[in-house]
């Protein structure tokens, strides 16, 4: 008969233990295993020696500055798009926001190369304008600023998605009240809109920051020529000279990244503390600003940004896929589709890679949606202290470079799992588990920030209607946080679709991913094939997004981020 619980909330009994176990398995266990592996060398004093190297500290400093500046750029660009596309009467919102999803889809190293190409001596654009610098000129992107800029470009869609969800739940009347109080649109933005969507902004900024901390592709291409090392490139170079203390080194460097991530999380918690974002009463009416004369310039700005962020690199990618060798000038004579032919029809591996990546990305996205909603619910409804701990644990794997995570997972799973006796190492499942671990934070953040903004009365009303936990989860909570949940899913899907470094060590025959395939082609000098495959990946994502668009009518409102 009567179901009693001590706290009066009806979270199922299993929920909290489930979350703890999930977090322990996905996040804590691999990290602990890595620490254990590195323990001997940590004990032997090698760690101290490592920490005594100025290079390590320089790398740590570089990591912090590039990620921080990159975060600022990402927040600026992503924030601009989110505000313009959700609140203002900009034309062509659909196309703009659709396209704005795509820069994340261009692999970081491709993005970096495209930018180097765009601004360097061989830039077709600059050549055409007669502005190309002479051969051998210094490349301005080979700098802290350049790395940060590309981080910003690469990660701004993450900010966009997580902020958009927050903006959609802004109460219209609150904004109107501010206008009537005499606040100019800028003041409304500063005093009402931004503070109220702070959870979304901070979540987006945190994702952008952490993505920068763990990024390898961009600093590898932009940093190394200028001898700028970040922790991920440093870790990589340590791996290159595989000596006796490598695991110790990785463990120590990873711990440094972990500390950074946790510190970031603390700052985030601090920024959100003591405030209330629960929108009282009904929200659901979206606010809009009429821009008037500012509209055309703003639209121009958005398109220009999109051109630089997406269209130019994509064109570079396409042209690289059409010429037979690097450095050959594209012309009607040199162009050929043989790379596509090779990739699509001759290399069976790439076809397997398509299948694997779609499976992995789809499963990870759906899996993390479910885990994320449950975890987000438990975190926002439970004790704040425990929540802070769990969030920190969830955050670290995403902040660590993929290669570290994959080493950790090899360590854990190379041997058969005790008790069960099965080995998932060498199968696609280990990549899936590693993805779940690695992208947990990405899937969770937007959901948590949306739950923070929710008026608790809405759930209470459902409880009183007799809806048990699952009912109200599906009927009330998930639809209400649909924009955030959709954003989370799409983010996870996009990121895992062209993920490279996690799967790099975990794949084996038959389980290669698209990222691995592209990397391998690129690494072995087949740039045309690599570019062709990258183009195909972008095309595939566009097709998937269009499919989503077709289903949009049957999904809860706001799930599909480019729809209004």
């Amino acid at each position: 008969m009567a179901y009693h619980s001590a706290k009066g909330n009806s979270q199922p009994r299993w929920l909290f233990p489930f979350i703890v176990v999930t977090v322990a398995c996905l996040c804590v266990l691999p990290l602990l295993r890595l620490l254990v592996a590195g323990f001997s060398s940590v004990l032997s004093g090698r760690a101290l020696a490592l920490l005594g190297e100025p290079a390590v500290w320089t790398a740590a400093y570089n990591t912090l500055t590039t990620s921080f500046l990159g975060m600022i750029v990402a927040v600026a660009i992503g924030g601009l798009f989110a505000l313009a596309l959700t609140l203002a009467d900009v034309r062509g919102k659909w196309v703009l926001s659709f396209l704005f999803m795509l820069p994340t889809m261009i692999p970081p190293q491709v993005q970096a190369l495209a930018w180097v190409g765009m601004s360097g001596p061989s830039s077709p654009l600059l050549k055409a304008l007669g502005l190309a610098p002479p051969i051998g000129s210094a490349q301005p992107l080979y700098s802290i600023g350049g790395i940060a800029l590309l981080y910003g470009v690469q990660h701004s869609p993450l900010v966009y998605l997580s902020l958009r969800a927050g903006l959609l739940s802004l109460p219209r009347d609150g904004i109107e009240a501010a206008k009537l109080a005499g606040a100019s649109p800028w003041r409304v933005l500063k005093d009402i809109i931004l503070p109220l969507s702070l959870p979304g902004i901070i979540a987006g900024a945190a994702i952008a920051f952490v993505s920068g901390v763990g990024n390898f592709g961009i600093p590898a291409i932009l940093g190394l020529p200028a001898q700028i090392y970040t922790l991920p490139t440093l870790i990589y170079s340590r791996l290159a000279s595989f000596g006796g203390g490598t695991f110790g080194d990785i463990a120590v460097l990873s711990a440094m990244i972990g500390v950074m991530a946790v510190a970031g999380l603390q700052i985030q918690e601090l920024a959100l503390r003591g405030r209330d974002y629960r929108v009282i009463g009904l929200s659901g009416a979206a606010a809009t600003f009429r821009l008037g004369r500012l509209r055309a310039p703003l639209e121009l700005l958005l398109w220009a940004l999109l051109f630089v962020m997406l269209i130019a690199p994509f064109v570079a990618l396409v042209s690289a896929s059409l010429v037979p060798a690097y450095g050959v000038v594209l012309s009607l004579k040199t162009a050929s589709f043989s790379a596509y032919e090779e990739v699509l029809f001759r290399q069976t591996a790439t076809r397997t890679a398509f299948g694997n990546s779609i499976f992995l990305a789809g499963t990870t996205a759906i899996g993390l949606l479910m885990i994320g909603v449950l975890t987000g619910y438990a975190l926002t409804r439970g004790s704040r202290r425990v929540a802070a701990w769990l969030s920190a644990m969830i955050e670290i794997p995403y902040a660590l470079p993929g290669i570290v995570i994959s080493v950790a997972f090899v360590l854990v799973f190379a041997a058969p799992i005790p008790l069960l006796g099965v080995t998932i190492y060498g199968t696609i499942w280990i990549i899936l588990v590693a993805y779940l671990s690695s992208f947990f934070a990405v899937g969770l953040k937007p959901i948590v920030s949306a739950l923070r903004q929710l008026d608790p009365a809405l759930e209470e009303a459902a409880r009183l209607s007799g809806a048990g936990f699952y009912r109200r989860l599906f009927d009330i909570i998930v639809p209400l946080i649909a924009p955030a949940a959709g954003a989370a899913m799409i983010l996870v899907f996009l990121i895992s679709c062209n993920e490279l470094t996690v799967s790099a060590l975990l794949w084996s025959a038959g389980t290669q991913t698209l990222g691995v395939a592209i990397y391998n082609l690129d690494d072995s000098g087949s740039y045309d094939l690599a570019s062709a495959l990258s183009v195909l990946v972008v095309v595939m994502v566009v097709v998937l997004m269009l499919l989503l668009e077709l289903m949009a009518a049957r999904l809860p409102k706001g799930v599909v981020p480019w729809r209004n």
Binding site: G120, I135, Q227, S241, Y326, V328, A414, S508, D523
Partner: protein
């Protein structure tokens, strides 16, 4: 179980090698995993740490790494009958690893460049100021061997590297990055492994490759059997195959210089005996690795 090969050869090459072997030994199936040497080693080391390495065979860029593994007891000694056809410096005396091909490191230049370099010393000339790119030993195994080789040449030595640094050369990334940077005209000259620019040139890229007069360094892409292999017999067959004439012809077709005596060189290469390969002692190189890396980093300001 299938034979598992970990290799750092490019995709197509790896596939071709494996296909050739399976054609010769239809009863053995081979699974292969390809990645850059550092990554494939990271994977293997993690597996060994976890006590369950999946690979039977390694076919990777440089002997130094294998020498380290041999010293750690991770390689199986196997005396291949094919060894007789190889120069003694190209395989381990105990049979822990065997070189399969020669990949030399020389100079490439963009055809638009003002100077046509012919020797290592040319890169330190004022004409090349700020125009030289080379791979970092921290990233590329071949680059490490290269640095260690040149450092051992009396006329060059570490002073040569200091001169390069003073001349504005950058050392970063792997061979691929150097190739791109020179092919795209960002830099004019690059230190790079031979087959890359030669292949690209064949495809029409505006680049040239030269074997400098002082001689070239070489990595030999050795093959080795892991001591933990559960398919030792099949693995031995694989080693025999790659060392055999048939296997070596396969490498030749892919555009590499075969290691076996008496083989021709691929198209676009000068005759084998005109290529002066500078010597290196793997065991000594291994011992010096840490110091050399430090020295190199000291010069180029990397870590």
């Amino acid at each position: 179980a299938n034979l598992v090969l970990y290799t750092s050869q490019p995709n197509e090459d790896a596939q071709a090698t494996v296909d050739g072997f399976m054609a010769a030994n239809p009863d053995i199936k081979v699974d292969w995993v390809r990645d850059g040497t550092p990554k494939i080693m990271a994977k293997l080391m993690a597996e060994i740490e976890a006590g369950n390495p999946a690979a039977d065979l390694l076919l990777i860029a440089d002997t130094v790494t294998l020498q380290r593994m041999k010293e750690a007891g991770q390689l199986m000694a196997y005396r291949s009958p094919e060894a007789a056809n190889y120069d003694a410096s190209l395989y381990d005396a105990d049979g822990a690893y065997y070189s399969t091909k020669l990949i030399t490191t020389g100079i490439m230049y963009n055809t638009a460049a003002a100077m046509k370099p012919t020797s290592w010393a040319d890169l330190a000339k004022p004409e090349a100021k700020g125009l030289v790119a080379m791979p970092s030993p921290l990233t590329s195994g071949a680059a490490l061997i290269h640095a260690q080789t040149l450092a051992g040449v009396p006329s060059l030595g570490w002073d040569y590297y200091k001169a390069l640094q003073a001349n504005g050369a950058v050392a970063a990334g792997g061979n691929g990055a150097v190739l791109k940077s020179v092919a795209s005209g960002e830099k004019a000259y690059g230190v790079v492994v031979d087959y890359m620019p030669i292949r690209e040139k064949a495809k029409g890229a505006p680049v040239e490759f030269v074997f400098p007069t002082e001689g070239v360094s070489a990595v030999t892409e050795p093959v080795a059997i892991l001591s933990t292999s559960k398919n030792a017999e099949a693995a031995k067959k694989f080693v025999d195959y790659v060392l055999s004439e048939k296997g070596q012809e396969g490498f030749l077709k892919l555009g590499y210089i075969p290691a076996r005596n008496g083989m021709p060189v691929p198209e676009g290469f000068p005759a084998r005996d005109t290529i002066k390969v500078l010597p290196i002692d793997a065991a000594a190189a291994l011992k010096a690795t840490e110091d050399d890396l430090k020295t190199f980093s000291g010069i180029f300001g990397t870590n």
